[in-house]
Symmetry: C2
Subunit: 601 residues, 2 copies
């Protein structure tokens, strides 16, 4: 297996040409780094992806984790990779020096996480979850918690997780019932059930640290009574040894895809001996968890983009090599067949994939850059990027997740019957990528979050900032002859989005909450398409500059290909917003009105 | 497992109320039947689906067929079901009495095939393939071939298949290289490789009869040199015993879904002892095969619709039972949670599924009715239905296949994390349904077929007939106050389709074949949406009549639900044609122009 699963050229294009990561070096926080460091990260991540992760992609899917006597056995590469990630500093890549991190820009950790996920999504989840969990502790936990847990998580010996979902509370965290009973010994006694917890027990690490939501006895009802706890599967005994902490795996899910990573059902405190340590203050757990969830949500968008990217490269490779049929203009059966990439419809399918995956990756870089700037700026400037991140989180989570499914499906389609068979990785990608519109908030939930919260909060400040950011790119693109028509098209689309938003917010002001949010998923879809168009136009600006300065031959094809993908997106994808906008402005309440019993029969 | 996988009410609605199958009884060909017979077919099919097929849905997926020593072992239910289908007359249901069939309307065999496929798609394929293969022999074969093979196929002892695809010739049948060497003994010696042949060897039957395409030595190049042969896996020896016919299974595919039915790779004539019998005349094989392919294509659309229907009912069931969250208007966390079917976004997902699956099923009934009328009419009238079938075949194959994927995906989404796990059947449906845009011609091929052949042939006669059929329904609907706006919307859509067609055909006339067909897949998509809207409006007419005559209470909900699904389709789906039309009329040749090397980088 030596197939390509990412485009190094495209990563370099986004990192250095479009988003200019080196610009960050002027800030003291990043000043110790330089381009050589970034290049090394990229090269090493590619090597790990190619040599360690991609070769076991199929194996990890076929030999899925099983639960035996309460233990979960995973593929041996998990241990190897977690060690590599610990020793290589990957888990702590963007953590600050003070916590033992590498203090690298998030754009750089995006690169490595993206490469790992494209090589083998299941494997990539173990360290990524650990990064997020450790960050929760370093941000909100006491120094004692930090000292106890974070070093072993950063060095890959211990796994971190997030444990939110319960049987009766999936999307509705207000309804969790896991309890935390205070003791006078500095810990709480935890009791409850958690379901769908990724990597929450496995033999690739020495211990698993659950960042877990529970309610302290007597807490207020709903989300205002949720607290955050560190609950290790094994706690540290009196002599520093690890002792069981009454966290029991009661089930393992058999899944459509994403099979290399176990998702477990946990029972905590069955023997009244599960100890948890409060992170930060009581009842603020959900607020804290949102930090990790928002990072995880960007991570989900990244994972979907990565899988769809690998699928795109596999489809492209196949299309170049597979002879089948002849050009429509020369159907003489005595002539040799042509590679299927010569057929317009196959090129259309490939351009669709290219425009989706490269557009999504650009948006991920954009959000990562906002995170990097948020880290080094202060006051109003910092607030600007926080708000932009807030409004874009649902978008950068959902667009790649939903469109990633369609993109992989088109990749599979390029292979015809072979795409449906396990000789090629497409069928696995198709299964793996389906998780993303579900975990870390379903697409429906994100529609409600975007329209019902992010767009409306602070008098629409975040929305206004988003429009400003897009308008800046439009302003630049307008000055370029090639890009001018696309700039005009995007401007019209943004105007349409503004009008639709005003209309919908009007419904909210009138107090019609159900009508206001009835088609929030369509609003999210519309927003997502425009965000990706923005990212294509932004890439177009870089491309036009590069073409203007006479690139070398290999690069000429790369830049020209980018322009075709941009044109594709503006011709085939962006116009779809019109249908969504028209529907959103109609708001006849069809889906609110429809009564459940009318589905009978 | 006692879950619902089809709606009997909806089948009865389409069969008796919308398409009035009893109307066929006036033709002598069907005169021996009556409503009691049809009801009995429906009841029996439901019972077989419920008792025999649905209970092993999961098992057949998990214990997939394996190739051991050249033999393929399948689930024991295959043998049981094939016997049942033979003895119950299901395989020969719509075959004429003279060939030992039941001479039932195709609409009736659609009902049973649909029920079987919804209960267990993989199982349903075995008899369905046999029906098609037997019909090829009865239509084009000699009396000797008919007598030798058909009775055992109809009674379920022997399996029929269609063996077209070869390693170097998937979508391009012109390139098949399997050879047939004439002998002076009445048979040909067959030599070659076939791939992706469903059910081409298994232990659920005594013998498998391949309807196989090959080229007689010296035949013209391309599709004009293809002949059709009967090639049994075991031929009849001198004493009437079955002897091996040198047909060897060299591989079995491991597939994403559709796992209960083996797809094999075959090697024919390895020992120079594979005998095939010519069907009809030499070099006419492709024309003959198209009969079976066209039936199979309708069958593929039916299979996709059936799987998506089962997924819809599973999602609906879950949505009614799963409590999660609260209404937007009463978010008090101390109140009990509501079933998720109360949420507008879940209702939207369910309405999407309902509109797709019930719209698709209506189109399948429509095509089946055309087949029934084609059977009993003569001359110009008969020709009318043949042409309508020709133009609709690609549509009724592709719309359900493509939209079935999205429909099942939305069904899976309704279940959240559980949809991704194998405790519920959604993840299997999601895998099973993905085959349909691939087999019996990919969606891309059908786009080319529809626009490049069916629409343009005979001076656009078939297209004109299609417009007439739709216009008839519009004309009736216009007279109903409730339906009038939908009639107007569909009329505008048909006008748009006419304009786009004229524009595209103009390109063909100018000789620009590549530009003409560049976006044929989008044309197919547009055509499909309009065809389904037509079927919804047709159903709407029946619904309005029923509502006008004061239906009983249970029926009131059913009819009202139909109106919501109709409204949904016209509000959310039909408007999508505008984006497609706009793109088709632009035809800037983006995908023709894009060069393969520009994908590099």
């Amino acid at each position: 297996m030596a197939e390509k699963f990412v485009s190094e050229r495209n990563i370099r294009f986004l990192l250095y040409e479009v988003f200019d990561v080196l610009e960050l070096l002027k800030y003291p926080y990043y000043a110790e780094h330089n381009k050589e460091v970034f290049d090394m990260v990229l090269d090493t991540a590619l090597r790990i992806g190619k040599d360690m992760l991609y070769p076991v992609l199929d194996e990890m899917d076929k030999d899925q984790p099983e639960l035996v006597d309460g233990k979960v056995k995973v593929h041996p590469v998990v241990r190897e990779f977690m060690r590599e990630c610990g020793q290589g500093g990957w888990i702590a890549a963007d953590a600050p020096f003070e916590h033992g991190g590498q203090q690298l820009p998030v754009m750089i950790s995006l690169v490595s996480n993206f490469i790992f996920a494209a090589a083998n999504y299941s494997a990539s989840v173990y360290p990524a979850l650990t990064t997020g969990a450790a960050r929760l502790i370093t941000t909100f936990g006491s120094q004692e918690l930090i000292d106890t847990y974070v070093p072993k998580m950063f060095n890959g010996e211990w796994q971190g997780t997030m444990a939110l979902t319960e049987p009766q509370a999936g999307s509705s965290l207000a309804d969790i019932t896991t309890t935390a009973e205070p003791t006078d010994k500095g810990y709480y006694k935890i009791k409850g059930q958690k379901i769908f917890i990724s990597a929450s027990e496995h033999d690739g690490v020495e211990n698993v640290i659950q960042l877990l939501l529970a309610k302290i006895r007597g807490a207020p009802a709903g989300v205002k009574g949720i607290s955050l706890f560190v609950v290790p599967n094994k706690r540290i005994g009196e002599n520093g040894e690890l002792v069981p902490n009454d966290v029991n795996v009661t089930g393992i899910y058999h899944k459509l895809g994403y099979r290399g990573c176990p998702i477990n059902q946990l029972s905590l405190g069955e023997n009244d001996d599960c100890r948890g340590w409060l992170v930060g203050e009581p009842h603020k757990g959900l607020m804290y968890m949102f930090q990790m969830m928002n990072e995880s949500r960007i991570g989900v968008g990244m994972g979907a983009t990565a899988i769809a990217t690998a699928a795109y490269h596999a489809a492209l490779e196949y299309a170049k090599q597979r002879p089948q049929g002849r050009r429509l203009t020369s159907k003489d059966p005595t002539l040799p067949q042509v590679p299927i990439i010569e057929h317009a419809d196959v090129k259309r399918m490939l351009l669709f994939q290219k425009s989706v995956v490269e557009g999504s990756l650009a948006l991920l870089f954009q959000c990562s850059k906002y995170r990097d700037l948020e880290m080094v700026l202060e006051g109003e400037e910092r607030n600007r990027y926080s708000l932009l991140l807030e409004i874009l989180t649902s978008v950068v989570k959902s667009y790649p997740s939903e469109m990633g499914i369609l993109s992989v499906s088109q990749g599979l389609q390029c292979l015809g019957g072979y795409g449906y068979c396990d000789e090629f990785p497409l069928e696995q990608y198709y299964r793996d990528v389906r998780i993303h519109p579900i975990h870390e908030g379903t697409t429906g939930i994100h529609g409600l979050t975007l329209l019902g919260r992010s767009v409306t909060r602070n008098n629409g400040k975040a929305f206004q900032l988003f429009v400003e950011e897009v308008s800046k790119v439009i302003g630049t693109a307008e000055k370029d002859t090639e890009l001018k028509p696309y700039a005009a098209q995007l401007k019209a689309a943004v105007d349409r989005l503004k009008a639709v938003t005003t209309y919908l917010v009007g419904l909210a002001i009138k107090g019609d909450a159900e009508l206001f949010l009835a088609d929030a998923t369509l609003y999210l879809e519309m927003f997502g398409i425009i965000a990706i168009a923005w990212q294509w136009l932004l890439q177009g600006i870089t491309v036009q500059e590069a073409l203007g300065s006479g690139p070398i031959d290999a690069d000429l094809n790369f830049y020209k290909g980018k322009m075709y993908a941009l044109r594709y997106f503006f011709a085939y994808e962006l116009p779809k917003i019109e249908v969504l906008a028209a529907r959103l402005e109609k708001s006849d309440g069809l889906t609110v009105e429809m009564q459940p019993e009318l589905f009978e029969g």
